[in-house]
């Protein structure tokens, strides 16, 4: 017992502080990844059964709706293209480096960490799909998190609401920068760290990634400020943020490649 306990402790230390064991985990995951597929199979089967058994009228209706949406978004895209070109021109005038376009690859959620204290999810793309540690993950609505562990056919995503995760952000309205972290007590919301009472932030402000730290590209929506509390007894204001990404509901996510 003592020997095994010692071995476990050394392994935990090596795993948390150094990266000697990532190879061990990588190869052991060949054996356990099929279990995740199996655990996810009821959902994926019901998904495919659902999409195969839709009625004709429903499909026609959906098609119509999607076409309308496409038209609307193409119209908005036209304006965006113009704005983008103008932005690049202005940036060139200012001698700033131009913004790089990111490539995205779609992935699907296949599991969730059973530990109720963390916010980690598993996606079905791994090292064979060139996923790398630190890669940003978004959904259709905003930033979801980043890759923290890569296995051959799956990877773990640390969500932005995890207490261990912090995101460098910028307020869209005025460009003020701050850091948004997950909290221990809710796991659904973010808080802004060390916000002085004079900091210009109001309820409804949209927060986007600032690009600081080089991990997340700038400009992706992170959240909306839902509550600002100025307590005279506290050195800092408490700013609560609701994430824009549907962290609990999104099944299709996007991996950003530089």
């Amino acid at each position: 017992m003592l020997g095994l306990a010692l071995l476990s402790m050394i392994m935990m230390l090596a795993d948390s502080r150094f990266s000697y064991l990532s190879q061990v985990r990588f190869y052991a995951s060949y054996l356990v990844t099929p279990l995740h597929w199996l655990a996810d199979s009821p959902r994926s089967i019901s998904d495919s059964v659902n999409s195969n058994l839709q009625s004709r009228s429903y499909l026609i209706g959906e098609n119509q709706r999607l076409k309308q949406q496409l038209l609307q978004q193409q119209f908005e895209l036209q304006k965006l293209e113009h704005l983008n070109a103008e932005n690049i021109r202005l940036n060139e005038l200012l001698n700033a480096s131009s913004i790089v376009d990111e490539r995205v690859v779609q992935a699907q959620l296949t599991g969730e960490s059973p530990d109720p204290f963390t916010k980690r999810v598993l996606i079905n793309k791994g090292s064979v799909h060139d996923v790398y540690i630190g890669q940003p993950v978004i959904d259709a609505f905003g930033l979801m998190g980043q890759i923290v562990d890569v296995e051959p056919y799956a990877s773990w995503v640390l969500l932005i609401t995890d207490p261990q995760h912090s995101t460098p952000i910028q307020i869209n309205r005025n460009g003020n920068r701050a850091i948004a972290s997950g909290t221990q007590d809710s796991l659904q919301r973010l808080v802004l760290n060390n916000i002085s009472d004079t900091f210009d932030v109001v309820v409804g402000d949209v927060l986007v990634t600032s690009g600081f730290g080089g991990r997340f590209p700038a400009g992706y929506p992170v959240g909306v400020v839902s509550n600002v509390l100025h307590d005279p007894g506290e050195p800092f204001a408490t700013v609560t943020v609701e994430p824009t990404a549907q962290l609990e509901r999104s099944r299709n996510v996007l991996l950003l490649f530089k």
Partner: protein
């Protein structure tokens, strides 16, 4: 299948029950139910330790825990340590466990799984992965104790049907 080597059999059945327990552990659950999920793997390990103490012991429990760590993406060695400790305690208790009534067994499970949870929680806190000052993590010890009689009956049925020894 020679009579000489017939002492142990049904190893695949033991492995199968452990894999099934691991599957139950990662089966997606709604968020509010997550904390109530019983520690399936710990229950199955305890059952086999009590039923076949000469066969399933510390080392098997440790290896099981190691693969659980990979499966859950948790700190490598966390589940291994917790499960080895549970197996160690179960090994010292197995003679009494066999005599216990269902209620007594369930109370023992409550304590064993409670120790399992407490140890995991301590390690996570020491590693600063969480410091949530509440006892949510103990709920799964309670649900494990409640579900134990059914797990016990099912596994005993499996053991007798397939003659695992």
């Amino acid at each position: 299948m020679g009579p000489k080597f017939n002492k142990h059999h049904g190893g695949w059945i033991i492995l199968g029950t452990l894999v099934l327990a691991a599957l139950f552990t990662v089966l997606p659950l709604p968020d509010w139910l997550e904390a109530y999920r019983p520690e399936w793997v710990a229950l199955v390990v305890i059952y086999w330790v009590v039923a076949l103490p000469d066969r399933i012991g510390l080392f098997s429990a440790w290896i099981t825990g190691f693969f659980m760590d990979v499966l859950e993406g948790s700190l490598l060695g966390l589940n291994a340590l917790a499960l080895a400790l549970v197996a160690y305690l179960a090994l010292s208790l197995y003679q009494r466990m066999r005599m216990f009534t269902a209620i007594q067994q369930s109370s023992t499970i409550l304590i064993l799984v409670g120790i399992h949870q407490l140890l995991s929680f301590w390690v996570l806190t020491a590693n600063s992965q969480n410091t949530a000052p509440n006892l949510i993590f103990m709920i799964s010890a309670l649900s494990s104790a409640i579900i134990w009689p059914f797990v016990f009956l099912a596994l005993r049925y499996i053991r007798r049907t397939f003659n695992v020894a």
